[in-house]
Amino acid sequence: MLNLLLSRLATAIPSIVGVVVVTFMLTRLLPGDPAAYFAGLAASPQAIAEIRTKLGLDKSLPEQFVAYVGDLLQGNLGNSLSTGQPVVTEIATRLPASAELTLFALIVAVGIAIPLGVLAAVKQGTWVDHLCRIVTTAGVSLPVFFTGLLLAYVFYYLLQWAPAPTGRLDIFLSPPPDITGFYLIDSLLSGNLETFWSALRQLALPAISMAIFSLAPLARMTRGSMLAVLGSDFIRTARASGLSPRTVVFTYAFRNAVLPVITTLGMVFSFLLGANVLVETVFAWPGIGLYAVNALITSDYAPVQGFVLTMAVLYVTLNLTIDFVYGLVDPRVRLES
């Protein structure tokens, strides 16, 4: 098991190196001149040139790259041009917001999609199955920003059930003490139920829009996988041995059917990392997605690079976790290491 993990970790290194190169190239190839932007509209050409020298942008690309990698190795992602703050600190403060949103959405999606998919497969052709089909079709056909806008329109503007889509907490409340960075957990840990309730209300709409989006592939994969497994020989054996329907469905069928679902879960999670950018923009969620969008608009290299790198590391970590979980569930994978 440990060997498997280490060998997978080794294969992750080239991906990280690739991402470092690509992020560097991408941001350098983006249109717009950061020096000109930074100097302001009224700046003279000399002033722009000075700033360019100061930022190191006058050097050749290889030189810039070496400097960039050197900084990276020291954990320095550079400073944001617009705020002047180190990118590392800014990402570190904003990442929990995104992580809380994404994980919460994922938990909601899994909590609905897996039971729905299992039921739809076990009771194939009944109303549950039809419901599953409707939900999955709706889920894939609605873009996530549209669901977000629609939810905000209906539940905030029309029904006024939800709070204004402006961030993680009611503006009159102060954030809970920073323990995990997750407001839901921190407020509970500090015993502040009012903050918890407010954070949950703020979180509901963006999380649901992301959950709807990720529900579809999960439910569909669960249903398909369950159907395939329920039709297989060993389920027939289990039934012929008189095992109870519960044992047959959960212990025998579901544990086998969950393997492709885990793979899908990894994919969905990475979709969600991307969808974050849109949802955070719609709901003014102070996460790293919104941060990256703003940086991109102002040709602020460092935060964009930081964002892409963070995402890449998250993605690689995620895939490692998936591999690990897969190995836990399926003994055949364990053997291959």
């Binding site: 297989s232 020989d233 060993f234 027939r236 054996t237 289990a238 039934r239 012929a240 041995s241 008189g242 095992l243 109870s244 329907p245 044992t247 212990t251 025998y252 544990r255 086998n256 569930v329 399926d330 003994p331 055949r332 053997l335």
Partner: protein
């Protein structure tokens, strides 16, 4: 032969609903297996052998429907039992072994656990004793090093080993009836013999009735007391193994025998049976479903099939038997 049937199937008919119409897969199938007796169901692929077994076990596909018949077993009609009551019987009183032992076992569950599951379900062992009881079963089906093998997954074992595990699962609760559906298909010839001997021996020990489904007449003759020949969902002939080999009365049985390689027949003399199974979706199926392939067909064959007793325990469904 003792006259206590362990299982008596009477007038069993099964239909399958498919997109291209209703298929009458079984029609008026009847046979019985006595306690301690081994009966072979023989026929080519698609003749309804497995469907008969699945219907008796109550594990037909959702598309399959039993339209008539009884399967008397231990005083109750298996076909009339609720799914819940039937599940109580399955694995405890009547068990089944399938072909392709590799796919018939749960790929991600240790084989010892799979045997233990059945034991625990039917009260054969408590949750705590089950692992030991499972190892005892592995010993019984002569798996070397049972303690270690109990911890193995099916993919770590050979096909023959997996089939032994299947047998251990099926026999864990000492059932009164075992249905073995082509248990040796996909195993090499030496393993085949070992598995058949093992089933025979364990059945003999406990006085268990066995239904052995196969398309291999030679194997059937070697291990079974009686042979029931099926063709296109009908039973065409039922006879003691010797009697069938000496003098098959149904034209199909005779052709099947001629198509079986034996010690006396050279490979050149092997005959194939002309024609194929009739399309069972046809609404105008003739009473004798073999008549389309039969050389002895006469006008009498258009009447409903007879059940002629032509010898001791020897019945043939044919107007012009050999």
């Amino acid at each position: 032969m003792t006259a206590i049937p362990a299982l008596a199937v009477e007038d069993l008919s099964v239909e399958f609903r498919t997109r291209s119409g209703v298929v009458k897969v079984l029609e008026h199938v009847g046979f019985s297996v006595d306690k301690g007796e081994t009966v072979a169901l023989v026929g080519e692929s698609g003749s309804g052998k497995s469907v008969t077994a699945f219907a008796v076990m109550g594990i037909l596909d959702a598309a399959g429907k039993v339209t008539s018949g009884r399967a008397m077993f231990g005083g109750s009609d298996l076909l009339a039992l609720s799914e819940r009551d039937l599940a109580e019987q399955r694995g405890r009183e009547l068990s089944m072994i399938f072909q392709n032992p590799r796919t018939a076992l749960n790929p991600i569950r240790r084989v010892g656990r799979q045997i233990a599951d059945v034991l625990v379900r039917h009260g054969g062992a408590t949750r705590n004793d089950a692992p030991q009881a499972a190892i005892a079963m592995l010993k019984k089906v002569r798996i070397p090093d049972p303690e270690r093998r109990a911890e193995a997954y099916p993919f770590e074992l050979s096909g023959g080993m997996c089939q032994r595990i299947m047998i251990a699962i099926a026999l864990a609760c000492r059932p009164a009836l075992l249905i073995a559906d082509e248990p040796t298909t996909g195993l090499d010839v030496t393993t085949q013999a070992v598995i058949m001997d093992l089933i025979g021996e364990l059945a003999g020990e406990s006085g268990m009735a066995t239904i052995f489904i196969t398309h291999d007449l030679a194997l059937a003759a070697e291990y079974c007391d009686r042979i029931v020949v099926m063709h296109a969902g009908h039973i065409v002939e039922a006879a003691p193994g010797r009697a069938l080999f000496d003098h098959a009365r149904h034209p199909y049985s005779a052709k099947l025998l001629a198509a079986t390689p034996g010690e006396t027949v050279s490979l050149e003399a092997l005959a194939s049976i002309p024609g194929g199974l009739p399309d069972l979706r046809r609404p105008d199926l003739p009473p004798c479903r073999y008549s389309g392939r039969c050389e002895r067909r006469t006008e009498a064959c258009d009447q409903p099939l007879p059940q002629r007793i032509v010898g001791d325990h020897h019945v043939v469904a044919c107007w012009n038997p050999l």
